[in-house]
């Protein structure tokens, strides 16, 4: 972030030091200036290397405990999503009905569910579905939304109007009802229809943010200056506007990732999202909900895992927002 420069009269930077008064008379002024400017360099270089927005943000993030905690949780979640075998040796689909709804016992710390499956193993394996859906849906929605929103914001006119109204229509779709209808038509119970549905309903939010920040960035003097010095539309968009407009999109996408994971669980809970044999927290919560009086542990563990995951991503988003836009703090 550009820091406003202090401009107290006492602290003139060396290049602003005094030249013979009355700029009019002095062809001397330039040569005087030259010798004066040989001194130490003003600005931030004295303190170290040049810092861009991103290295500034990283500098802030490393010192933010919220970021460190949420990042640790997310790294852990991603690791067990990739290799659940690291911490769970069992098979989530190998169940023993004789042990149905039994509580915690040695080797099975979280107990068993109605089917006699190990809750610990299923909770660990459930991370894969949630993380995969979350990451894929966010990537899809962020790409689609920022490309469409960015182009609309940059070029304006009828394309912009068309996109904005289309986004409004998608905003108007109630998300659960839409999910029930869409996913009962597109059957399969695998990850991809769920990802597709979330992208379909998620892109308008991102495109609004992207459009807004591109419209703001487009009006900056440096975009006009770059245009005045001969940059074409592609270069303006990619080199001058996108890097200055991408921060809000990253923030919103990170927070959205958490809510998309919750959405997947909700849809699976309602029976239209993921379906067995896929292992998902939503499915397990749904199965457990009828047994909450006899076997609360069945609900506790997958629900806890889901809450922590969603919370971690939302906290990460908050920390990233603080780092990228200190004005919001």
């Amino acid at each position: 972030m550009p820091e406003p420069e202090p401009r107290e009269p006492g602290s003139l930077a060396p290049d602003e030091a005094v030249t013979p008064a009355g700029g009019g008379a002095s062809s001397l002024a330039t040569s005087d200036a030259e010798t004066l400017e040989g001194g130490p360099i003003p600005g931030g270089t004295a303190s170290g290397k040049a810092r861009s927005l991103w290295s500034d943000a990283w500098h802030d993030l490393r010192r933010n405990p919220v970021f460190l905690v949420s990042a640790l949780i997310i790294v852990f979640l991603v690791l067990i999503a990739l290799w659940p075998g690291l911490i769970a040796s069992g098979n989530p689909l190998q169940c023993d009905l004789a042990k149905a709804q039994e509580g915690s016992q040695p080797g099975h710390p979280f107990g068993f569910d109605t089917q006699g499956c190990d809750v610990y193993t299923r909770t660990v394996y459930g991370a894969r579905a949630s993380i995969t859906v979350g990451i894929c849906a966010t990537t899809g929605a962020a790409l689609l939304g920022s490309v469409l929103g960015g182009l609309a914001g940059f070029f304006g006119s009828w394309g912009d109007a068309l996109l904005s109204r289309t986004a409004d229509i998608f905003f108007g779709i109630p998300i659960i009802l839409g999910g029930l209808v869409f996913l009962s038509v597109v059957t399969g119970g695998s990850l991809w229809p769920v990802v597709g549905f979330i992208v379909l309903l998620g892109w308008p939010q991102i495109s609004r943010i992207a459009r807004g920040s591109v419209v703001t960035a487009r009006q900056h003097d440096y975009v006009q200056a770059a245009r005045a010095l001969g940059a074409g539309n592609t270069r303006l968009l990619l080199r001058h506007i996108a890097p200055n407009a991408v921060a809000p999109v990253i923030v919103v996408a990170t927070i959205a990732l958490g809510t998309y994971i919750a959405l997947e669980a909700t849809l699976s809970f309602l029976g239209v999202g993921l379906k067995p044999p896929t292992v998902s927290w939503g499915i397990d919560i749904s199965n457990a909900s009828t047994q909450i009086r006899n076997a609360p542990h069945m609900l506790l563990w997958p629900a806890g895992a889901l809450s922590i995951t969603v919370l971690a991503f939302i906290m990460l988003g908050d920390a990233v927002r603080d780092a990228l836009d200190p004005k919001l703090r």
Binding site: E16, D221, Q224
Partner: protein, 334 residues
């Protein structure tokens, strides 16, 4: 240089009209501005905020924000070719390479997330198709050219790490990188401290001489103009009200508005006396007065000024004034 080029003006703006279509009505920002700049000449365009001087420049550069801004009439001839009817891609290639622009506030006119070396280098890679290394080397050369100390080390720094004067030097380096024929400087020193203003103006004047560029210097600062400009065009309410060689204008203005501007400069020999000011405010561009737009504020205004808009009268060779009473004004001044 061939003969016709030496005679024909480098840039010839003819009867340019620009308007902004806003929700509150149409603001006529530029109403028939004509001026010309010859190769190697410096034209100062002087006027208050809202007089249309910057909008004219934006229209010439082709960077008017539209909507809401539209060029509704006139021609902008660059070496005899109309920029306004030229194809977009061709015009883009001229921008930066043949005609370029220096902006008022270099901090906001430089991209905050690109290092200055990269931004300067972009000039060479966009127009000359240079490789990254070559353009970076040229960028450092340009930074040395505008006397930025330790240019090589500082090329990787970001705009906010430079002082105001240094940033404006970088802006100048970008505008002059490709040795354009014409540079438009839009209040290049307004954002700077007075002491740095002089340095930056001197640098600009020196480079202009060296590259033999035409320069349009847009300013509201009469002090800046006197040393560098060859001719002055004074703008008011989107029109040119007076043009003259710089020293003749200072010696004897032929328009009451110019006279008012010159009279409102604080002077040491008037110490203790009341500072003269032009009464009233510039007109709203959505509602420009009939007749002479300056008539509500003009000490000389008579009935004719409220009904008839004065054309630009030829006052002397190379001088014109849009005042019905230019003769009287000139006589009073002399």
């Amino acid at each position: 240089m061939t003969q016709p080029e030496a005679v024909a003006p480098l840039l010839d703006v003819r009867d340019l009209h620009v308007e902004f279509r806003t929700r509150d009505g149409v603001a006529k920002a530029v109403n028939g501005v004509s001026y010309s700049v010859r190769a190697g000449e410096t034209l100062a365009v002087l006027g208050e905020s809202g007089s249309g001087k910057s909008v004219t420049a934006q229209a010439v550069m082709g960077i008017l924000d539209s909507p809401p801004g539209y060029v509704t009439g006139g021609e902008v001839l660059f070496r005899g070719e109309d920029l306004l009817t030229m194809g977009g891609e061709r015009r883009r290639r001229l921008r930066g390479a043949k005609i370029s622009m220096i902006f008022q506030d270099a901090l906001s006119a430089l991209n905050p997330v690109m290092s200055v070396g990269a931004q300067l280098g972009e000039m060479f890679s966009v127009h000359d198709g240079m490789t990254r290394q070559d353009s970076r080397a040229k960028a450092v050369q340009m930074m040395e050219r505008v006397r930025i100390p330790a240019a090589k080390e500082r090329a990787g720094d970001y705009p906010h790490q430079f002082s105001g004067g240094m940033r404006q030097r970088i802006m100048i380096a970008m505008a002059l990188a490709l040795e354009p024929d014409l540079v438009i400087a839009d209040e290049p020193t307004t954002a700077l401290d007075v002491t740095v203003q002089a340095q930056v103006m001197d640098l600009l004047a020196e480079l202009r001489r060296e590259y033999r560029m035409g320069l349009i210097l847009i300013t509201h600062d009469l002090g800046v103009v006197a040393d560098v400009a060859d001719r002055i065009a004074v703008m008011y309410a989107g029109r040119i009200v007076e043009t003259a060689p710089v020293h003749e204008l200072y010696a004897a203005p032929a328009h009451p508005y110019t006279a008012g501007l010159l009279g409102s400069i604080p002077r040491l020999d008037h110490k203790g006396k009341e500072l003269h000011a032009i009464k009233g405010l510039p007109p709203s561009l959505t509602d420009i007065p009939a007749g002479c737009p300056f008539n509500p504020r003009c000490p000389r205004a008579r009935a004719v000024c409220r009904t008839d808009r004065p054309p630009l009268f030829d006052v002397a060779p190379g001088r014109a004034s849009a005042c019905h009473f230019w003769k009287e004004t000139l006589d009073d001044a002399g």
